[in-house]
Subunit: 118 residues, 2 copies
DNA sequence: CTCTATGCAAAAACTTTGCAGGGAT
DNA sequence: ATCCCTGCAAAGTTTTTGCATAGAG
């Protein structure tokens, strides 16, 4: 992934990308900070670089945090539970067209089945 | 709006609700701070109360800010431009069903026509 | 060897909280 | 008279920046 960009390959970058690769849903810094060995400044600086080069996409939950995923994954919608703040990927094909608008992501907000039971 | 709740009617609350009523799209604190005469703590505390009582809904743009609108308005989708961070209301009827999920809002992210030209 | 990347600490941006005083019912 | 509401200042949370050093190509 890095080879196609001017970004140098470093242990920090490999760690971040490996974790994103293994993740089944978008993750935020807090989710992975114990699994990586680098300063938060390094993490965020690399995240910015990755976004600039289209390696990852980001979205924000309603808990103030920003979540990241590899953009290599096929474009898909996301469901954010406003109770537990988890983000799930929706693989159902949702076609939405808005004349003149470029659509990059669809975020559905609501309450997930688990939180509805509680 | 306030009469149906245990919340007392105060000048601060009336100002906030009036501004939300006049707004054509969701607004954040910064958008209206010059148009209201109250401390930001009062603003945010009232926002929280309004949400608790279902008077308003909120959503976050990708600029860290939270945006608010009256929930009295018919439910509708929102388009967030990731370039200029504006939020527009989409009145087109988008029906999305996800078994077991309660859907409260649909947020479409992308690039608006104006930013595409630039 | 050069320029990019990193760590640490401090700052920034937005929102929340503590506390004492004021106001609605 | 009782609680709810408000302003001010300070703290909290997540992300960003400055600066000196380390490391990749």
């Amino acid at each position: 992934m890095l080879k196609r960009t001017p970004l140098k390959t470093t242990p920090a970058r490999e760690q971040i990308l490996k974790l994103l690769q293994d993740a089944t849903c978008p993750v935020c810094y807090e989710d992975i900070k114990d699994k990586i060995s680098m300063d938060k400044a390094t993490f965020y600086r690399n995240i910015i670089k990755f976004e600039e080069h289209g390696i990852i996409r980001s979205l924000e939950s309603n808990n103030k945090k920003r979540y990241y995923e590899l953009s290599r994954q096929k474009a898909h919608a996301h469901f954010i539970c406003t109770k537990c703040n988890t983000i799930q990927c929706i693989n159902k094909n949702l076609q939405i067209h808005l004349k003149g608008y470029e659509i990059d992501d669809i975020v559905i907000k609501g309450v997930c089945p688990i939180c509805q039971d509680a």
